[in-house]
Symmetry: C2
Subunit: 357 residues, 2 copies
DNA sequence: TCGTCTAGGACAAAGGTTTGTCTTCGGCTC
DNA sequence: GAGCCGAAGACAAACCTTTGTCCTAGACGA
C-alpha cells in the first residue's frame, strides 16, 4: 500500500460526457424522443425496439442528464441550501445528518452555508442562493438572535421558500421546532419526583430562540409545581458553563439562600464546564447536585459520573425541516411544525434524591 | 443508470426574477451589451451614460445572474462537492469549516454529501455529481477503507477532478493529508523525555489510512528510540476505547508483561472510553498511565483530569484541500499536499513521569 | 474625396434539456 | 374509397447567459 503507481494525471482529454443528442444520433431518433423515453413520459409511445435501443445506448454511453440544463428548463434546481452555524456542539451534526438523509431520499442535494456564530448574518443574506437559482429554498438554522432577525431582514426572505429550523422566525408558518417545553418538563418531573424543590437551568444566551422557549417553559412548569427556579444564561462553551456555576455559587453566598439541588444544562459544551466547576467547588454529583444534560451524547455515559440526559429528536427535526421546505417549494401547505418524538430521559447516574432527604 | 434522478415537482408561478433581457429592454440596448457591462468585460466600450443606466437598472431591479444559465454556458458550476462522513467526532466539523470558508473566499459553493461510516460507498459513486454538472470537482473524505478503494472503484474517479482529504487515494498526486508522523513524534518525544519506555497507541481500524500512517510512524519512531510499542485498533467510539483498554489489561495479565505507562488515543470518542476503563481498572491518570489525545477539543481541558493533546491543523487541511481541488479543476499542478503547521502539543495534566521513577 | 479605423453596439449561435404542437402513415370504419 | 384515428415520432420554441463576429457611423489621414 505504501508504493502505489505514479499518477498518470488523466485529466479528461476532450472526451465530453454524453448528451441527449449523442444518443439520439446513435439511435436515429430525435432528442425529444430520447428525453421522453428516458424520463418515462407515459404520453410518449415508441416501438419496443427503439425503446430498448435508447436505453441500451444511454447506458452504454454512461449518459447522465445535465442537471444545469434540466434545472434551467424546469425552473427547479433540486438543491436546498442549509444555512447553519458549524459548531462543535453535536446537535448540529445530528440535525445536519437528518436533513441530508431526507433530502437525498427526496432527490434533493443540500448545499451548506456556514453562518458563523459570532458574526451571524441576517437570514435574508442568503436569499441570493434562490435568486440565482442555485437552490430552490432555504433551511435557516442561523444562530442570529431574534431581535436582529426581526428588524428589516424579514422582508427579503419572505419572497423565497424557506423554513426556520430549531428556531422561530419573525412570522408564523415557517418554523420547524422541537418540543422544548416537553424536554424541560421531562427533566422537572424526574427531579421533582425525587424531592427536589430548588432547580437551576443553565443555558445559552436568552436571545437564542430555543433557549428562550426553554426558559419560559421552565418558569411556567416550576410555577405550576411550586418549585423555585434559577435560570442562568451563559455562552455555549465550556467556559460559559463553568462561569455560570461560579455565578450561582456567588449568588448563593451573597444572599445566603440555599443552592439549587438539581440543575439542567442546555448544551454538552456547557456541561463539561459545569462539571468542572462543581468538582472545583467540592459539590459532588449527584450527592450535592443532580445534573441533567439537555443535549444527549454518548460520551456522557463514559464520564466520571455518567450524566443523565434528555435525548431530543434532532434527526427527526432535520428531516421534518426538509419535508416542510419541499412542501413550501411545491407551494403546498405552510404551517409551523413541532417535532415531539422521540424524546426520552436517559437515566444514568447524575441524578439522586436531594441532599438530606 | 437504471434510475434517473427523481423528477422534481412543479413549481409555483409568481413574480419572476429579473433577467438580462429585462434590463436590456429597460435601457434600450442588447442583452449582450448588458452582459458585458455587468461582467466588466474590458473589451466592451459603451458610453458612460449607457453604462450608468445599465448598472442603475440592474441594481434597481435586483438583478442576479442566473447561475444555471451561466454555468451551462461557461461549463463551470462554481460548486464543489464534499463527500464526508458526518460523525460526532469534532475533527470533521473543523475540517468542514476550513473547507467551507476557503471555498467561499474563492467563490465556490460547497455541497455536502454524507457518506455513512458503516456503509461507505466507493468514492466513484459520487462522480455523478460532476457528470451531471452539479459540481466541478470532488473533495473526498470518505471513511471507506483502503482495500475497497483500490479495487476497481478507482478508474471512475480519475476522470473527474478530485482530491482525497485526510486520506491517501489509490494513486499519488491527489492527496491532501496532515503530517501524522510528526504528531506521533510530538507525543513520543514528550513522554520519552519523561522516561516512559513502554508505549501504547489506541486508534481506529487499521484499514483507515490516517490510522495506518500513525501506526507506521509510531512503530518506526519507537524502534528508533528503543521504545516498546503496543498498537491497539478499535472502533472510533467510546465503546471502542473502553474495549481496547480491556484488551490491553487482559494481554498484560496473560503474558505477565508490564503494562505500558504512556498511551496516545487517536480520537476524542475513544478517549472517553479509555478514561472510563482506566478509572474502572483503578489505574490513575497520570500516576499509573500518562494519556495524550491525538484529537484536540476544548472539552479536554475541563475533564476530571485535563488531558494533554496534540492539536492538528484541521482547518488548514480543509482549506488546503479546497485550494488543491480548485487547482485541479483549473487543470493546474497536481501534486500531493501535506499540511504540517500548526501542530502543537497542548500541555495539560494527563502526562507525568512513569510510575516508580 | 476616398478609404480606413475605431468606438459603440447589435446579432446570433451556442450550451443541453424539456415540452407543446405538428406530421406522417397505416389501419379501421362506414 | 373517403374520412378518421391513434401510434410513433419529428420540430422547434423555450430556459438565460455568454461570446465570437459583424455592422454602422463618424473621425481621421492621405
Amino acid at each position: 500500500m505504501t508504493e502505489l503507481p505514479p499518477v498518470p494525471a488523466p485529466r479528461k482529454a476532450g472526451r465530453r460526457t454524453a448528451r441527449l443528442v449523442d444518443i439520439a444520433e446513435a439511435v436515429g431518433v430525435h432528442t425529444s424522443t430520447v428525453s421522453r423515453v428516458l424520463n418515462g413520459d407515459p404520453a410518449q409511445s415508441v416501438r419496443p425496439e427503439i425503446y430498448d435501443k435508447i436505453w441500451r445506448t444511454a447506458r452504454q454511453q454512461g449518459y447522465r442528464p445535465n442537471a444545469l440544463a434540466r434545472a434551467l428548463k424546469r425552473r427547479h434546481t433540486g438543491a436546498l441550501a442549509f444555512v447553519i452555524p458549524l459548531l462543535r456542539n453535536p446537535i448540529w451534526v445530528r440535525l445536519q445528518r437528518g436533513a441530508l438523509q431526507r433530502a437525498s431520499e427526496r432527490g434533493y442535494a443540500v448545499m451548506i452555508m456556514e453562518d458563523e456564530m459570532d458574526q451571524a448574518q441576517p437570514p435574508s443574506t442568503y436569499r441570493y442562493l434562490v435568486d440565482e437559482s442555485r437552490a430552490d429554498g432555504l433551511l435557516v438554522a442561523t444562530s442570529l438572535r431574534i431581535p436582529a432577525h426581526a428588524e428589516g431582514s424579514t422582508a427579503g426572505l419572505l419572497a423565497v421558500p424557506h423554513v426556520y429550523v430549531n428556531r422561530r422566525g419573525p412570522v408564523r408558518g415557517n418554523d420547524v421546532v422541537m418540543d422544548e417545553p416537553a424536554a424541560v418538563r421531562l427533566f422537572l418531573d424526574h427531579v421533582a419526583a425525587l424531592g427536589h424543590r430548588r432547580i437551576a437551568l443553565i443555558d445559552g444566551p436568552v436571545e437564542v430562540d430555543t433557549v428562550h422557549r426553554r426558559a419560559l417553559a421552565a418558569r411556567r412548569a416550576c410555577a405550576a409545581r411550586g418549585l423555585q427556579l434559577t435560570v442562568l444564561h451563559a455562552d455555549v462553551t465550556e467556559e460559559g458553563g463553568w462561569e455560570a456555576i461560579q455565578r450561582l455559587l456567588r449568588r448563593g453566598a451573597a444572599t445566603g439562600r440555599a443552592l439549587p439541588t438539581a440543575c439542567a444544562v442546555g448544551s454538552l459544551n456547557q456541561m463539561f464546564g459545569v462539571m468542572a466547576a462543581l468538582r472545583g467547588a467540592g459539590l459532588a454529583v449527584p450527592e450535592s447536585m443532580s445534573l441533567v444534560s439537555l443535549d444527549e451524547d454518548e460520551c456522557l455515559a463514559f464520564l466520571d459520573v455518567p450524566v443523565t440526559s434528555v435525548a431530543m429528536p434532532l434527526a427527526e427535526l432535520g428531516s421534518a425541516a426538509v419535508d416542510a421546505l419541499i412542501a413550501r417549494i411545491d407551494a403546498q401547505d405552510t404551517a409551523d411544525v413541532m417535532i415531539c418524538e422521540p424524546m426520552n430521559l436517559i437515566h444514568r447516574d447524575s441524578v439522586a434524591r436531594p441532599p438530606g432527604s
